[in-house]
Amino acid sequence: MSSGDTAWMLIATALVMLMTPGLALFYGGMVRSKNVLGTMMQSFICLGVVSIIWVLYGYSLAFGDDILGFIGAPVWLGLNGVGLEPGPYSETIPHLLFVAFQLMFAIITPALITGAFAERMKFSAFLLFTILWTSLVYLPVCHWVWGGGWLGKLGALDFAGGTVIHINSGTAALMAALIIGKRRGYKTQPIYPHNLTLTVLGAALLWFGWFGFNAGSALAANGTATLAFFTTQIATGTAALSWILTEKIVRGKPTTLGAASGAVAGLVAITPAAGFVGSTSAIIIGLVAGIVCYLAVLAKERLGYDDSLDVVAVHGIGGLWGALATGLFASYGAQGLFFGNPGQFLVQAIGALSAIVFSAVMTTVILLAIKHTIGLRVSEEDEVQGLDLSLHGETGYSIQ
């Protein structure tokens, strides 16, 4: 066991934990003030719900002995048998620390989806959805890629979760937006962010925490972690810039929300590639991420579904671009198309596609099941009043 690696993974895990409240702020600032708490609550409470699932059966199903490439065996239910000695997934840190690190990924993934159905979902339906989605969608896909499942075996590269987390949640977001339907007043009333300082703060915490997410995925304090750290910074900064430059061209003004959104798009896109690519590739990945994700937001406006906070455009499209870009630019520890290995690109495409199909189908089934049992959406009256008062009996602000 290495105290240096353990030190790094302890703090990396804490950093990833911080991303979920960071997301709560990022999303919370973008909704109308009557929904700020309800929106933040959906992210925040994932920290509770998923933690319990993870201890009871989540970790085991994701990382237990592989069953047919599809799911892990229930060998560590209740984390029985998981100890403080280095475990199967790393030689240099306690097994339980790997469990903790992976837990934080499992927490933020369903939280990401909440942006799609923000401002209109019942809290009970949301809780049920989170439990089911984590169990039936996240755990399998996580197993496929990282837990010894078929995608990992196929050679799919996903350094820190482009497929497992972003494509997966982005796809779920699309289905959720379609199934729950548009917000009342969408396109007829003005619906815009109520507090962009929260959103910028949230983006900053996401960025900060993402160093743990990406560089922590090396599971050690070494050169690979450093590379992942650095490419994360470069791609993110570049994407913030390329988003606002595109905005400037398209709309005439570079916005702060654009800079924050671009940063997140860059973080998403570099995630699968972080430990595999060099600095110049990181610039290109970020550059494209900022442009493509912004255009995807514009496309949404035309396509007409109401993905409230653009989870599809930022995480879905950004994650897809990142997964494919890894197949193009990989040059450290693996080779991509531009470094003589076109096969990798194909594998990446297969990985992305299977995650999309699986997530789309399963998410649809789960949401329709909830819709036809306890119902997904708050009443019209509650939606007009806002989730904060109608669901939680609170108001975000009473500043006189």
Binding site: Q189, V384, G393, E394
Partner: protein, 112 residues
């Protein structure tokens, strides 16, 4: 000239504004207010404590018009602002002696 004040539900503002614009009202002044009336408020919960909030957010429109427009304006507001539920609000009409446009110094009907 008259001053028409209307207290309406906030989410009806856009509709009322549009309808008034449609009948040629080109100016008005809007204030966020709190209303107390028959409509009952909501309950808020903060840890141990519970509060009933009986002041309800409303929008007040002030529109100065020539006397002959009064009927048309009030009708328009009534149609656009109405939901039929308690709390739809009130319209108050009061006399006005003079209107002046600061920019030009015009006064009376021209200044509206």
């Amino acid at each position: 000239m008259k001053k028409i004040e209307a207290i309406i539900k906030p989410f009806k503002l856009d509709e009322v504004k549009q309808e008034l614009h449609a009948i040629g009202i080109s100016g008005m002044t809007i204030t966020e207010v709190k209303g107390f009336g028959r409509q009952k408020g909501h309950r808020e919960i903060y840890r141990g404590a519970e509060y009933t909030v009986d002041l309800i957010p409303k929008i007040k429109l002030e529109i100065v018009v020539n006397s002959e427009m009064v009927a048309k304006v009030t009708e328009t507001i009534m149609k656009a602002a109405r939901t039929g539920k308690i709390g739809d609000g009130k319209i108050f009409i009061s006399p006005l002696e003079e209107v002046i446009r600061i920019r030009t110094g015009e006064f009376g009907p021209e200044a509206i």
